[in-house]
Each structure stands twice: as structure tokens, then as C-alpha cells.
Amino acid sequence: MSTKKPETLTGAQIVVRLLERQGVTTLAGIPGGAILPFYDALSQSTQLRHVLARHEQGAGFMAQGMARATGEVAVCLASSGPGATNLVTAIADAKLDSIPLVAITGQVPKPMIGTDAFQEVDTYGLSIPITKHNFLVGSAEELLDVIPRAFRLAVSGRPGPVLVDIPKDVQNQRVDVSEWPEPGVAESIPLPSSELIARAAAMINASKTPMLYLGGGVVHSGASSEATAFAEKAGLPTVMTLMALGTMPVDHALSLGMLGMHGARYTNYLLDECDLLIAVGARFDDRATGKVAAFCPQAKIIHIDIDPSELDKIKTAHVGIQGDVKAVLEQLVPQVHAALRTDWLSRVAELKAAHPLRMPGIDDPRTPYGLIRAVADCLDDEATITTDVGQHQMWVAQAYPLRRPRQWLTSGGLGTMGFGLPAAIGAALAEPERTVVCFSGDGSILMNVQEFASAAEEDVNVKVVLMNNSSLGLVFQQQTMFYGERIFSSKFKGVPNFIKVAEGFGWQTLDLDKENDPQAALSKALATRGPMLIHASIDMNEQVLPMVAPGAANKDMIGG
């Protein structure tokens, strides 16, 4: 606590001051009745910049974009009732991808709670299963404890979202404040067990065909360079989950790209052959493992994770190490013998040559892979890439040359369509010097299309590359592959004119369909500052391949 002369402040003013003391600069939200006292206090802050979303889910994903791009806690705001329920999807998404978020919601005044008051909903109850922790604040004094704790909880250990629900009368309550609490920061993590690390090192040194399996925890821990150095020293072919893309540059000699449902054939085949799997900050998600019993069937498992409940959750580890990934790797790597693993790496090269990731049309910007490559050719590694969810997301995951942690922002665990645009706006707000490109589809973009307005208002440097196949492509693909080609509810009969839509919101636009030299047009559009929609039609029958059928073993891929 730091002491100052006592001030009489409202609960709302206390929250504003505590957010300032946390170092928050930008927050996203929408005002409404039950959070108006807070907004009134916020209007007096010179440090906090409020970005007005057009739907609370957009505010939640803007905050996620800020948090994912920087690793810092980001804040979103909503009023009670529908404001809070609209935030729910963005908070659940943050929970599944371990993104540090503090959501602040207004609530009806305490005496009215439980009376079905106007815009009353049980925000506390609703948010229990989708937050790391949540608070219903009972008094203005409590805020002095709750707000720093919310920030501490959001970033400590495995990051996640925390919700603080503040009744309107608590926001208005005046109290004397003489001491301010220290800002909430990440708690230190106990050092990992050196005995377990020694056992892991011995297993790695004895292994003939080890594989390194990197997950999003490597990004959260800031351990990308340690993980890459580990792979290089021990000669480890390395696979990445969707969340980990960018932790090892995709064109690194040891990178086998993404594993699992839409991984390359050689990648999944090699996992089938490995005798040791070293999982680092990964949680054996079903999209990565396929049928669990058939995942790395010959392998012993070393599992390193900050969250003890992840160890042995899906696969029982031979050695499970609880700890911060970076701290564990710093101890582990010196004990691992340098190894060339010539035999294993030549087997890797052999399978890679026989079963590479096939990207048909990569040189033609009018195909999905070709468009992604053409966009990448216009940008450098400083660009940030977001996606929505569906075919375009998997194509970009396969084809975009991601080389930097936090370059890649995508909704992994929850798989939320509508994530891409507001997340891109958030990323651009947090790092305005970067170009932020959101790959989206004609299904996904409509799910948060209203955020075109916030992007135009803030003049963020966001480019949306809209891959328009007039369908819910991944549903169309699954109905084609697994439901006897009975296409139902996945083909749009009415498709909006997206160019006009974007223009109506005040965006610059480029319709690649009308360009004779798409590469030159793309290059010009991506170099133009400010919000820009780049529209490209693609064939509805294009598929993401290879594909592992849901529930099937990864080695039984279809296509590709």
C-alpha cells in the first residue's frame, strides 16, 4: 500500500484510478444504464482511452486482440443484462485459449439484485464456468482489493479471463481512500522439480526418434527462443499446435508445421513413428491428437505445463513436469546432449519428400493458397495476422509463413466465428505501428460486421482479406465428405455486396475479382494506411486437405 492524503471518491472513480495504476491505456466497451457511473468517471481520465465497440462481443474480442498481441492484461466493459450476456462468448474464448482479460460489468443496484429488475441477469452465475475467477463486488472498499486481485489472477500461472461485476450503487458509493494497493502483477511460479527434469533429460538423451510438440503455453511463457534452441541442440523435429504457430519459424529446418486435423501427412506420419513425445505448453486437444488411443502410439511422453490439471488429463505422462515452460527449458536444455540424429532426421526428410503439405494453386492469387501466399509476399514478419474460423483459418494456418510469436492471433479452443475483425482492431490499437491483416470468410465476417464502424472511427491499420465462397465452407466441406454430399444450410442463397457494405462503413476497398494484376493491386492496398477490405471470390468446392475425420486417428487422413 502506498499512502497519500485521504480522498473521498466514488466506487467508479476508484476503479478508474486502479486501472490507471495498473498501467492500462486502452479499453473497449459499450456503456449502458448500470455502468453509467463508471463511464462518467472514465470520461474524466486523461490516461485511459475508451474505444467504443458496436456490440459487447466486439469489445471482448478487441480486448483479446490487445492481450494476444502484447501478452498484457486487457480490459473490456459492458453494462448489465444483455451487455454482460453479449460478452460471454468473448470471455469463454479467452478461457479456452488462456488469454489474460479483465471484464468489468455493471450490475443493477444491490437492493434490486434477485428481483428480475430491468436488465438484470445473474452475471456472476453465468460467468463461473467461463472465467478463471469472478467477483460480485459488495462495497466500494472491496474494489481496492478486487481490482488488483483480478489483474493478478488474470496473468498468474496459466493466464485467463477474470470478471468483476459491480452493482450500480457500489459504483456510486463514496468512501475515503487514504492508501492505494500495489498494482496486481503475476505471482512467481515455484521452480520445477530438478529430479523430474533430470529424468526427462535422460529420456531425451536415450531416445532415438523424439519429437517436440509445442503449444500455446510457449507463447504465453515467452519461451519461443528457448524452445527453438532446445530443438536445435537436441535435434528434435518440431510440431506446433494451432495456438503455437510462429513460436518456431515455419521455414526452420526442424519445423514440421502444424499437427493434427489439418496437419501435413508427413507430420502426422512422423508422430506415429516417434518413440518420445515432448509436449511443451500443449494440452493434447482433440483437434491436435485425433483419436487419443492412436496418437503417438509408440511414444513415451514428457509433458511440461504450468497447469498441474493438464498433466495426465488426456494422456498419462511418463514424466510430467509442472512449471513455467521457460523456466523448465532453461534447466532442461543444459542437461540434454547435443545430438545430430542423422538417421531420424533423414527419415523426416524422406517422409517430408514423399508426403509433403500440398498447396495447389500456391502461385495463383485467385486460389485460397495462392491468395494467402500473395498477401504474405507483400508483408514482412512485423505484420500481425488474425483470422476468423473455418476453411480460411486452416488454409492460413497451413500456408502463411508465420515466424514470430504473437504474430498469429486466432480463436483456437472455442473456434469462434466473428473473432477476427475485432481482434485485429484490438491488435492494431495495441501496436499501431504494425499492419494487421484479418483473414476472414463470408460467413465469419458477418458475425461481427458491426465492428467495421469502430475500425473506421478509430482509423486502425486493419486489412480484412475476405475469402468469399458464398458458403459456410467448412460445414459445406464436412457435409460433402461425411454426410453423403447432402448440402444443407451451408450455401448462402443471398450474399451481400461486401464492397458496398464496407464502403457504407467508410472503409477503403479493393475487389480482387476485378483486378487484372491481383498481386500489384494487393501490394498497393496492403501498403495503404487505414482500414481496407480486400474482397476475393473463391470456389465453393475448394477443400482444406488433408483432413482427419473427427474421432479418427491422425494417420488416417483424407486427401492432401
Partner: protein, 102 residues
């Protein structure tokens, strides 16, 4: 069913969990929500404040199940749960309550 076989079946089937928790309005929801979202039935619940009332003790009787280790880890992660101990079904806390359920 005589009391011995009842006792035996319980020993095989149940575990008693003892949780020290912060005493405030949302804690029970957090704890039982962990079980309900996994369709994991809680057979018995007992909760009383301890000492000055800042903390409470929750006793849960749950079925032995292959998910129990994972359940305990998840419950231990809850911010308001201070400690979790596992006991066999023979723990007397629920036995002594039986007369209230006659």
C-alpha cells in the same frame, strides 16, 4: 440391506472430500459447478463455517470414478479453495448424519 454390507459397498464406491474454502456467497457454486458440468453427481454435501467464519469447510461425498483425480486437481485450482483432502468412504462425517435421513 444390513449395515455391514451397506458400509462395505460404500467403501468401494465412495470417496469423501474435505475442502477448506473462503466463506462467501459464490464458493459453493464454484465447487459444485466443477462437478455438475461434467455430469459427475455429488451424493452428499455438508458445509459449515470454521472458527471466526472467514473460512468454511465443505464435505463432499462423491462416487469413485476414473475422473476423480482430475476433479480434485480442478477443485484445487479454484481461487477460493484453500485445501483439498481425500478420505475413504468410511469417514464418519456423513455416518453421523444418518439419523437425520431416516
Amino acid at each position: 440391506m444390513n449395515s455391514i454390507t451397506k458400509h462395505e459397498s460404500r467403501t468401494l464406491a465412495h470417496t469423501v472430500l474435505e475442502l477448506n474454502v473462503n466463506n462467501h456467497a459464490g464458493v459453493m457454486s464454484h465447487v459444485v459447478g466443477m462437478f455438475s458440468r461434467r455430469a459427475y453427481n455429488v451424493e452428499g454435501i455438508l458445509c459449515m463455517p470454521v472458527g471466526n467464519g472467514k473460512t468454511s469447510r465443505i464435505w463432499l461425498m462423491v462416487n469413485e470414478d476414473e475422473r476423480l483425480d482430475q476433479m480434485v486437481k480442478q477443485v484445487e485450482k479454484l481461487e477460493d479453495v484453500l485445501a483439498v483432502r481425500r478420505h475413504g468412504a468410511a469417514h464418519e462425517v456423513f455416518e453421523r448424519l444418518e439419523e437425520f435421513f431416516q
